[in-house]
Symmetry: C2
Subunit: 470 residues, 2 copies
């Protein structure tokens, strides 16, 4: 009986497949130029004059390739969109792409550090970031790290929720210093859960009153990080508006202005979007292409920054108040498109129903690809007729190690390279050493290339192990 | 309009919640004794006489606590169930819990190594495993690792799919050695996708013929790893039966018997089960308890091994053939219940709708808990009335860092400890350094405790980084 149902299902699938494949799938639009890649024909894709094939030949596969030039460009789009100062202070979200070489470039462009753990606070100091350019966020701050942040006198500690007020206050009292703090609030849209204190029901107002009442905290900021991905101006305005409403009410109650409005991050990067359950399912069941993000609809960094700035200006002008300082904490939009991951084809596998492309990188290095659109490109022949539909999998032994259930490409063979784009957000921090060492990261700077992080060795993976008897 | 719908939804949720919470939820049944834990009242849970609170005080939090005694017990249940040799050869799946101290204990009990990557092959050799006790599996074997496996003369290389035959054959020819190989097949149930060659349509038979025809491979085995979790004798028999049918057909065609039947792994561990989408959703939306696995229904290691053995015996007796060697490759069932993860409460957060318990360990260390039932226990007072329903989250700044949407417990405060059970399968290999260093692993051996892996330091996380100008 069960096999009859299975047969009926398989039959229905094969009949429906051609129709579903054609339905609602936009023509592929993403050109390698989107990420600054050039195609020199025989040798395939290159970035800043460096052929990806040469980089892999020299540094091994898989390989993260990062561009200092693109990091600088993105940083400047934030700090000086269209050449003029944005009037916003920019703190990069360390957790998104915590690679020191990348962070150094951003800091050299005047970007500060947004950290969410003791390790990241330490890392910012290691990289020479002055305390005045560090913001400390997150729901899980250890007591020790709160103490250190207070001792350092960092720019801002954003208190995540009401119960954290007392923890910071106790540490402040012990240190005999009055730290500069903000309170994270939620306004209805965006992430809630463990994050922030809701404006609804007066909880956020009460939290400010409580923080003020401690007498040991210098409450200078409000923090509202939307979370998720902001793709449009409308979505941005929906996030900003309620925050400004709240600030107005708060200031009138407190009788004094807030020094800082911290808008968090969440701007999407143009070529990445969350994949819906239906799109994933159609991709899996009917091998329908995943819908590519439409670049022409993307909210640019420049629009994002200037929209925040002008919206605040307009509101404060109406209220006849001096402008507050504006903090922005970009992650994804700053680094996602500055890094790509090159993987090699280890083997292919043909079955009557599908063709598998087995890469040397899977979810161990590219976990985000399970739930986000990331463009894949054959390093050579990306323009060739896409005659194969591949299920793209990694090397670790689980069916979950699947990067795409249907990716169309020219036919690829063992040793061919595939570039996974937008590897500069949440690839490195979510990477694991599951059965395979983590790869090297190289940095392209103008025409030069240097190693930013060497590949993990077999020895590294067990370097912290104590062998009995040794 | 949107807010009206949201209000209606919230109202429906609050009305339905009490009913849904009561529906179909079994009474909690899992006692700490399940994992060998004792409760000495005031000091809370202890393992082999070591209080978890003392271990954390000494080695830090979070902390993996591993028991050598339980590893030995599980190994013996496989090798000598009820005191008699099982007649099966056991290869532990390295990827499941690749901690050298644990692997050493297993090897000292006569367990071999089942590896899926060059790193794991190297690790087995580092640990002194003789080549004759190594089996090499997986869809992503690098050419270099295939060569090394052939040069070493390991027990068995299981070729994953047809296209891998040529790769192994070419390496064998180059090495001038005839490696012992098996072919992975699929029989309809269990994992397919990138794994194995299907029996259906004659593909598996053709693959054996192809491997034989190379003339350079010593085809000695068939490999069939079900994947997922085998919870019952019925499910086991459904996996074994079609394999034995296939072997019968294969042997009659080839005219010679196979030396080895490799049944792979996949035995479930008693206190862990996959969570269905509905259970997860009810937990999230209505705070309904996750359904606990029923220990009395669990298939024991002893039953599993003896069922495989006796089923093969019966079939071979009927066929009047000498018994083949039986290989089993346990992962989860060998180590899952030998290790637990202790985490500390950093903070709590109360909102009108939920109460959050913020731990210093989340999906960065316990990724599997997102899709599997893992029992959580307050280290002190697990018997106390469970007055709070917590959303248990980790410290990394994403709503995805949630271990449970509704876990009932006594009220916990900052500094309290929570034990996450069954951390001995897929916790360590899926762990990341996302904003937080990875914890130490201690090993309990009888009444003694020693460090198996030291905690990652802040420096370790960037130890492979090259700082420009340094």
């Amino acid at each position: 009986m069960r096999s009859l149902i299975a047969m009926a299902k398989a039959r229905a699938k094969s009949v429906l497949k051609p129709t579903v494949q054609r339905l609602g799938v936009p023509a592929p639009s993403l050109d390698p130029q989107t990420w600054g890649l050039a195609d020199d024909g025989r040798h395939g894709l290159s970035l800043q004059g460096q052929r990806l094939t040469d980089l892999v030949a020299r540094w091994g596969s898989p390989l993260y390739v990062m561009s200092a030039d693109r990091l600088r460009t993105n940083a400047r789009r934030y700090t000086t969109p269209e050449g003029n100062p944005s009037g916003c202070e920019i703190y990069y979200s360390y957790k998104t792409h915590p690679v020191p070489a990348a962070l150094r470039v951003l800091h050299s462009e005047g970007i500060g550090a947004e950290v969410i753990s003791h390790h990241e606070l330490w890392l910012a100091r290691q990289l020479g970031v002055p305390p005045g350019q560090i913001v400390y966020n997150g729901p899980g701050k250890s007591t020790e790290s709160i103490r250190e942040a207070i001792d350092l006198g960092i720019q801002l500690i954003n208190i995540n929720h009401s119960e954290e007020i007392a923890r910071v206050a106790v540490a402040a009292q012990a240190a005999g210093r009055k730290p500069r703090v903000g309170l994270r609030i939620t306004t209805g849209g965006g992430w809630t859960g463990q994050f922030g204190t809701p404006v609804a029901g007066g909880a956020a107002l009460a939290a400010f009153a409580e923080a003020d009442a401690t007498g040991v905290l210098d409450v200078v900021a409000v923090h509202a990080h939307a979370g998720g991905m902001i793709h449009s101006r409308d979505a941005l305005l929906q996030a900003i508006g309620p925050l400004l409403d709240f600030v107005e009410e708060l200031e009138s109650r407190r009788g004094k202005p807030l020094e800082i409005l911290d808008f968090g991050g969440s701007l999407a990067t143009p070529a990445v979007c969350h994949l819906g359950a239906l799109d994933l399912r159609l991709n899996r069941t009917f091998q329908r292409d995943l819908p590519e993000p439409r670049l022409e609809h993307a909210l640019s960094i420049e629009e994002y920054v200037t929209t925040i700035r002008s919206t605040v200006e307009q509101r404060y002008r109406l209220r006849n108040r001096p402008m507050p300082r504006i903090f922005i904490e970009p992650g994804r939009s700053m680094t996602s498109d500055t890094t790509l991951l090159v993987a090699s084809v280890i083997s292919t596998k043909r079955t009557p129903g599908a063709c598998f492309l087995i890469l040397d990188a899977g979810i161990n290095l590219a976990e985000s690809v399970r739930s986000e659109y990331h463009h894949l490109l054959p390093v050579k022949g990306w323009r060739d007729e896409r005659t194969c539909t591949y299920t793209v999998v990694g090397p670790i032994c689980t069916p979950g190690d699947t990067l795409s259930y249907a990716w169309r490409s020219r036919e690829l063979v063992e040793g061919d390279l595939v570039a996974i784009m937008d590897a500069g957000a949440y690839f490195v921090p979510f990477s694991t050493s599951f059965s395979y060492p983590r790869p090297a990261i190289v940095m392209l700077e103008g025409p030069d290339v240097h190693l930013a992080r060497r590949a993990e060795t077999f020895e590294d993976i067990i370097a912290r192990d104590v062998f009995p008897g040794c």
